[in-house]
């Protein structure tokens, strides 16, 4: 299980990386926005994507849409971990095909629950 963490703040990437490690996911890579993430995802090495929404360059929402539009990536599970809290945005993300949505600030328990729920549904 290889996970890509996308967030423009390195501290947030580090926090998520640590939390994922505690959950037993030690194989993670990082990217700082959609433009960096997309080519990495296209290598096909990743099984799971955790992304922020608001980033310079390509936003997480655009990344979500780009992934869903890509024939090889369209089934990649995506968890959005973001400070974006408007109902419209959450609905839009759901419609664009996000698998889970966590609002910051979040707890380790919430992240764990959402990730487990996503995997449950996939299996």
């Amino acid at each position: 299980m290889k996970i890509l963490i996308v967030d423009d703040f390195s501290t947030m990437r580090r926090i998520i990386k640590n939390l994922l490690r505690d959950l037993g996911f030690t194989n993670t890579d990082e990217a700082d926005d959609g433009n960096t993430a997309l080519p990495m995802l296209k290598t096909g090495k990743y099984d799971f994507l955790v992304t922020d929404w608001n980033m310079p360059g390509m936003s997480g929402f655009d990344l979500l849409k780009a992934v869903r539009a890509d024939e090889n990536l369209k089934d990649l599970p995506i968890l959005m971990v973001t400070a974006e809290a408007k109902r419209d945005q959450i609905v839009a993300a759901a419609q664009a095909g996000v698998n889970g949505y966590v609002v910051k600030p979040f707890t380790a328990a919430v992240l764990k629950e959402k990730i487990e729920k996503i995997f449950e549904r996939i299996q």
């Binding site: 501290t11 997480g60 809290a85 408007k86 109902r87 959450i90 759901a94 966590v102 609002v103 910051k104």
Partner: protein
């Protein structure tokens, strides 16, 4: 802008009274059929308009100048005082906040990542010793095993003292790493004060601009802003707003209402 208060929005009372006076005179001249005099009055009228325009522009310029002068930094350094504005300083200051908070977060995470395996090891050793100790109390332990346990307990106490001390040092360093709050708090308060000041100045600029519009008779067509689904960052006062979720439970409710 105190002189505006008594009069209907905008115009200088001096100017409005002048306008009234001249308008009346104009009507009188037209009625009297003195068109040459009327033309002169029309000229005068537009001069009054120009004059008040100049006045507004003058006031605008003074305000702008004042605003720019107010943005100076480092009073102890007169050369820089001329060159730098508080605005560029404000973005530097905020950059400093980003750096400070980033540094503190990383320092804290370094210490936590360092301490976690040690806490884990302490926990594992203590558990294993407790299990063996209970076997000993139940008299299920062979003498050779006991000798080994004896040595392990000895070493555990030794390392426990060291590890606990190191843990204490880590914790107190984590505590110290939070000192950024004081510094960044001060910086943010300063920037907030500046933003407020700028807002006030901008507001008076807007008021002035509306005076200019009024004098020149300009009407602006305002285009409606199209809404787009763009990232906005953290929402303040989420609990008071209905278009914003107030936490993860709200998100979960919303998503489950969509069939998630």
């Amino acid at each position: 802008m105190s002189e505006d208060k008594q009069n209907s929005p905008g115009l200088d009372p001096e100017i409005t009274s002048k306008l009234k006076e001249q308008a009346q005179a104009l009507v009188e001249q037209v009625n009297a059929g003195d068109y040459a005099r009327a033309m002169t009055l029309i000229n005068d009228l537009s001069e009054v308009r120009d004059q008040s325009l100049y006045q507004e522009v003058g006031r605008l310029t003074r305000s702008l100048h004042e605003a720019i002068r107010n943005f100076q930094i480092q009073p102890q350094n007169p050369e820089q005082q001329e060159a730098l504005s508080k605005m560029s300083d404000a973005s530097d200051r905020l950059q400093y906040v980003v750096e400070m908070t980033g540094k503190a977060a990383n320092r804290t995470m370094d210490l936590v990542e360092d301490a976690m395996p040690r806490a884990n090891a302490m926990c594992e050793q203590a558990r294993s010793l407790r299990d063996d100790w209970q076997r000993l109390r139940r008299r299920e332990m062979a003498p050779s095993e006991f000798r080994e346990l004896y040595g392990r307990i000895d070493r555990f106490f030794e390392s426990l003292a060291d590890d606990a001390e190191k843990m204490y040092t880590d914790l107190s360093e984590i505590l110290l790493a939070q000192d950024f709050q004081d510094l960044t708090g001060q910086v943010i308060q300063k920037v907030t004060a500046l933003v407020k000041e700028v807002e006030e100045n901008l507001l008076s600029l807007v008021v002035m601009a509306s005076h200019v519009d009024q004098l020149t008779g300009t009407v602006h067509e305002l285009k409606e802003k199209e809404s787009s689904i763009k990232g906005e960052g953290p929402q303040m006062r989420a609990a008071e707003r209905s278009d914003v979720v107030s936490g993860q439970d709200d998100v979960d409710d919303l998503l489950s209402s969509l069939g998630f």
